[in-house]
Symmetry: C2
Subunit: 391 residues, 2 copies
């Protein structure tokens, strides 16, 4: 029940102007007026306000098109910096980005002891290290975004991580107290979906699905231009969608869960069993494919087949504009897409002609970490008054 007044109008229009500027800079006031259909005078007054906030600045005149030369405005992408963290199962990926998501610094750490007690100091250390890489700027470090493999509720508490067994960890409060800045915690797939929507394969897509395929399968859902988190924050647990109601028993309690058939973990297990190996690596699989090892290729086909079954369910559920697949294996062996596509084509409803695109992740390993950072950026740009300590 948010009522509107004059100040709402100003904030609302300023957000539109800034958005257009970010999308199309360098740009003149006159062009902004044309694009937004706001009055020239309104643009003039709003740009003053944006310049006072150091979010934009003038870079001199542009080309004339038969009259006075325009003064070009640009987005000040270095008005502040953000730290993004991807807390994976066996790694911590940390980045420092500007307000456009450009990476200035990155660091990857391999987790040995995944207990919370062991991770916490390492995490803080990595964040401090990244923060030190930020140049002087009006707003300094505007916040920290964390994407994590596990259940995060709508209060941003980490409720449970299936692999490292963290329980009810309030990392948000802990980091806020440590660093005194905005901290946003999100599920790994949600963050990935957001990253791909802002910077990657589904840029500006209204309805998109992000599929994170690894040890399990996680799904990030974007509907009606928004991330859909669910009532408590637990949407997108489609790895535990049953595709064989009387199938294999899963640790979650369900039977025939999709990720028991279509995760990278399952594929790796199958191939290592096939080859009589204890363990098989990405590299080994890629090599086996390159030498046309038929057993492995057949296994890969089955992998794509099972993915296609679940994806058909997703398409029937969401009628999405696009689906993004995040899987190191598929990204380095895009041939899997063929069996995925074939399976979907043979199964998708013939009643209505559904249009959908399937893309590989453009951000790849950085989808989650950039998504996490972008939550913070968006939060910062939506904050009507940038009342913060100047660094």
């Amino acid at each position: 029940m948010n009522t509107a007044d004059q100040s709402f109008v100003k904030i609302h229009n300023q957000k539109i102007i800034l958005d257009q500027l970010i999308q199309h800079y360098p740009i003149s006031r006159a062009d902004l007026a044309k694009m937004t259909s706001l009055n020239k005078a309104t643009i003039s007054s709003q740009t003053v306000s944006l310049m006072e906030k150091k979010l934009i600045y003038e870079i001199g005149t542009g080309e004339s098109s038969g009259g006075r030369k325009p003064v070009m405005l640009v987005f000040n992408k270095t008005a502040g910096y953000v730290i993004g963290v991807d807390l994976g199962i066996n790694y911590i990926l940390t980045v420092l980005t500007d307000l456009e998501g450009n990476i200035l610094f990155q660091n990857s750490y391999e987790i040995i002891d995944s207990s919370y007690e062991a991770i916490k100091p390492i995490l803080i250390e990595r964040i401090v290290e990244a923060a030190q890489g930020a140049p002087e700027s009006p707003y300094g470090i505007i916040g920290i975004g964390v994407g994590i493999h596990g259940f995060v509720n709508n209060d941003q508490t980490i409720v449970f991580t299936p692999h490292s067994k963290w329980k009810d960890i309030d990392l948000k409060i802990i980091l806020e107290e440590q660093f005194h800045c905005t901290v946003l915690i999100e599920n790994e797939a949600n963050a990935g979906a957001y990253g791909e929507r802002l910077f990657g394969a589904i840029k500006n897509c209204s309805n998109g699905i992000f599929l994170s395929i690894g040890i399990g399968i996680g799904v990030g859902i974007i509907v009606n231009n928004e991330l859909y988190r669910g009532t408590q924050g637990f949407s997108g647990e489609m790895g535990h969608m049953s595709i064989e109601y009387n199938g294999k028993k899963c640790g979650c309690g369900n039977t025939g869960c999709w990720e028991l058939y279509a995760s990278e973990k399952t594929l790796f297990e199958n191939i290592s069993k096939l080859k009589g190996l204890e363990h098989v690596t990405y590299k080994q699989i890629s090599q086996l494919i390159q030498v046309q090892n038929m057993e492995v290729i057949k296994e890969l086909d089955r992998f794509g087949y099972y993915l296609g079954i679940g994806l058909t369910n997703i398409i029937n559920t969401f009628n999405p504009e696009a689906i993004v697949l995040r899987s190191g294996l598929i990204e380095s062996n895009p041939i899997v897409l063929n069996s995925i596509q074939n399976t979907i084509s043979s199964r998708i409803s013939q009643y209505a002609h559904q249009n959908h695109q399937i893309y590989l992740s453009q951000l790849s390993r950085k989808a989650t970490v950039l998504g996490a950072a972008s939550f913070v950026i968006e939060h910062f740009l939506n904050e009507p008054d940038h009342l913060r300590l100047m660094k």
Copy 2:
């Protein structure tokens, strides 16, 4: 990129005031000011505007609470009337309602020939009949809402109806030309979801799922307080979600589709086979249950079991606040809910404690028709200027 100005503010606040008034009338200006946290003077000026539009009126003074008596305002629910139509597989249900969804007139027609050519004149006749039941009012018949069993795209064209085989029928334009009023066409499950959210089991629920179980299974999805239609309008085809990837072949092209296991149609077929009958009716089944026929009860349990399997998938996907089941059979034999709940409980992820409620449809047979009508009501109340012919 909708910029805001003063008139936006007025329209926006007026909508909030009217919404509060509809929810809480009779109500005074003073109480509206408190509830909306708008200034008293603003409420005074806006109520003048709403009274000019005939959407509200005064009904005299109320009880004083220690000062001047308040003037009570009420919503003018008879400012106009709406026609709702449910175009089912073997019936046409038509209602006339006021602006609150109260039914003034209703009519049910059994379809014999379901071809478009046969239905069209009957449909028009039913609408005319319903319209004649409307009393004199400021706005007259404000529109016609149609819920239909089949694929409706985002342009509101009926793309395909699986049973009656209609193809690319632009009913919206046809009815608009015939009746010169707003016409809105929606999928049956989407309309039902909307009806239940406005008037029924999931009133004001932010994230809810409506399950229409009949010859097939259709799903209406409400997320982030909005109906989710999908990119083309084909979301919620979860009847064709595979729960057994190598299962029964479905007419849609997929295998192991949920509705092959958990639709009323399947249940009826199974029971009639069991009893060696050509055909079995709702009544017969209810009677068999009442006399504790174990074969039938077992079959009913299986029905609930299969529903529970798909519902577990839905909960894992959406983490909804509530799920509404629309099934004549379950509504008259709510015992089925037990096996549904048991199946879900034993299968739902133990990782995170998910809260969800499962309700029976409150609107029952009228869910779709009231949902269809409510789209028109909402459209009317959102129209900033009610520039229409007075009847």
